[in-house]
Symmetry: C2
Subunit: 429 residues, 2 copies
């Protein structure tokens, strides 16, 4: 195929005409598909349903240590659930606090805690003139919304296929005491799907922060969310690496079962050094008496252990592979060689990230919407919703069915082509 | 019986000897009972067990409006659970947000939100030199811990049998713009068991706060927690009264099913004006994607409606009545006429509050502890853990069995007598 940029004006005009015809045809179909959020699909929810059978009115509701999960207690979570989450997060049980149904809420509360009271005896952030966070981009919009709500200045850090630009990260973290944190999705990154290289993780662990209370927010949301059985990303253990580097308290690791059991009815966890865990529990003990232990027990009784959980994740992978393939196959087939966009074919996670020609993302999303295909708003993957190049689009292929994803992908590439042609013609004029 | 104060030194010394003998006998029994916290007893947990049968892998998991409770969505809670909580809180469904498993957490987050961002566009509290809260005393220690953590100055307001001293409340609220809130447990108050009179509620609603962002934290924790079927307290609807008085936004009402279904695995709710609800949702939407909707559906399917919930509360009442009676009967039988303590016989809630002679509470709690009976720490019912008279003791009769409560009550009155005699002798010398 000929790259669009190499086409003459006449070729572009003729292409435009053809694409507009296709656009009209799609319009007539009246599609209604939503690829906006990383929502599991119906088939994924179905495989978790037997979780609702592991407990009934005749069940013993006690933990291995004898705690009655039906009553108050165990602020840090029941032992067996801490063990399960620890195994999933590849840390020790004592490093883990099991939270409520949302790891996002755990992250929010950690920022709120730091803002109100300071990090482990440090100056409360609200007393500082300026607090900054580094934001690898494109990234997760809900992370950015949190730091935005707290008035924290966000600094874009480009993300490559090996992770954030570590030269920039070191430059900021090691020199600017106002830089208090960085948002990371180290594995199957939201949205690009890349995983941090060993070198990236080691450079993180060996940071020499200007601020004592600098923390890495390591949102390992997709730690066991592989698409393939035989081709999986693995990342270095950041907690171990930080310890080795003499920075034992520098990282908070977050994870949840939201995309393993049920979104909204899973369990979340935060892992960190024992010192950090003790500090968090001390603060958290004023906020709540404890989280939902019956749901923690339900999870452990269903998954049994990390092997059971990983076996369950294989089923998710099987269900998601064809949906991801519907998108990446279409992108490859329809866009290869046209030089109007790039993407990474992810090996896990929940998203495919597409980089359109500069200045085209918003228009592509708008055109898709007009054809009934809802995507995440363009810009959402950047702090303040501002993609400086108006280029990145996040595709969430998990919620629609595979057939629907094929329709959606077809509409998507059509809109990419049409908007790109229009952009090139606009420049030509 | 002769009042202790009227006894001669000789009489007191002889009484002391007798009581010390009894004390030694109790010591030999090696009791181990805990009345420290308002924890439901085993029999109460058992009656909620059928809740674990209302859902299984074959269940339809959709709400009446068609939301799949297994997936993300419905930040404010599923409609039918909002309805149930609204009926319980005696407000409209649109006034209610269903939260996670803990109303304490909802209260904490509301304070945190006000501290960080201000109340509905008001000045964030962290920017103010001084923020004060009124604290009716004796009150709930976990309320006080929250305001203490945020550095909010707490002011004691005496609580009588009709509610807080409203002259004092009006004086503070209507004149001091630093007063931003008040902690209230309006029904079967923790720990005294009293309920606010209609006049008290109306005076609350008709406050003319010096601070625009003054809010009443109305923790209606025991709204349906009656001990008797035929003798129940009812309180005026504060949301209605505030609306009538031209203060529609002045109150946040909190409740949960922690002591209805399962502590730690119930659902919580906050109710307020529509304007406040919208503000809360806007802020909360950054904190979480949503709460546990499967658990919300589980609650609705189990209780069905408010009548089902009230029928369930009758069972709780039946289970709790003998435990409360074990305490109040013993107090009446053993202490009436001795003039060494006072208490209210509550008609609901979770506690019995005992006022010992000044300067005796800590010692009574310590003596009970030495005999194996753990009570809430003396002072806990006051801000900063400081009971200025060292008089109030909170008794939580729900967790032990009725037989155990009889033992505990016997030990308690013995320690009250002994410490009182010692105090009187001390004064005599």
């Amino acid at each position: 195929m000929k790259a669009y940029r190499e086409m003459t004006k006449e070729e572009l005009l003729s292409l435009k005409e053809e694409l507009e015809k296709q656009y009209k045809e799609e319009e007539a179909k009246g599609l209604k598909l939503n690829m906006a959020r990383g929502k599991p699909g119906l088939s994924q929810l179905e495989i978790a349903m037997p979780m609702l059978d592991v407990m009934n009115s005749g069940s013993d509701m006690h933990t291995l240590l004898g705690t009655d999960t039906r009553n108050y207690g165990d602020l840090d979570g029941i032992g067996e659930c801490r063990r399960l989450m620890a195994d999933m997060m590849e840390v020790e049980k004592d490093n883990v606090i099991v939270g409520g149904n949302s790891s996002l809420n755990l992250m929010y509360d950690m920022i709120a805690r730091s803002f109100c009271f300071g990090v482990k005896g440090g100056t409360p952030w609200h007393k500082l003139d300026k607090v900054k966070f580094l934001c690898p981009v494109p990234g997760y919009d809900r992370h950015f919304k949190i730091t935005e709500q707290f008035g924290i200045e966000m600094i874009n850090i480009p993300l490559s296929e090996t992770g954030p630009d570590m030269d920039m990260v070191e430059e900021y973290v090691n020199n600017d005491p106002a830089v208090k944190g960085i948002w990371c999705v180290p594995k199957y990154s939201n949205p690009t799907g890349i995983s941090y290289s060993d070198e990236t993780v080691r450079r993180f662990a060996n940071l020499k922060p200007a601020a004592d209370d600098f923390r890495i927010y390591w949102d390992n949301a997709y730690c066991v969310h592989h698409l393939y059985d035989d081709d999986q990303d693995e990342i270095l253990n950041i907690l171990d690496e930080c310890k080795k580097a003499g920075n034992p308290d520098m990282v908070f690791i977050f994870a949840s079962t939201s995309k393993i059991s049920f979104p909204g009815s899973g369990v979340s966890a935060v892992a960190s050094s024992i010192d950090n865990v003790q500090w968090i529990l001390k603060m958290m003990g004023v906020q709540t008496i404890g989280h939902d232990k019956i749901n923690q027990l339900r999870h452990v009784r269903f998954f049994k252990d990390i092997d059971g959980l990983k076996a369950h994740m294989k089923k998710h992978g099987e269900l998601l592979r064809p949906k991801f393939a519907a998108v990446t196959d279409t992108l490859e087939k329809e866009l290869t060689g046209l030089n109007i966009g790039s993407w990474v074919k992810p090996k896990g996670g929940y998203f495919i990230s597409f980089d359109a020609m500069d200045g085209c993302a918003k228009e592509i999303v708008a055109r898709c919407k007009a054809l009934g295909v809802t995507l995440t708003g363009a810009g959402a993957t950047y702090p303040y919703g501002k993609d400086p190049r108006d280029s990145n689009i996040r595709i969430a292929p998990t919620f629609p069915s595979t057939e629907e994803m094929k329709d959606a992908a077809r509409v998507f590439v059509l809109c990419v082509k049409l908007v790109s042609v229009e952009k090139l013609l606009e420049k030509n004029i």
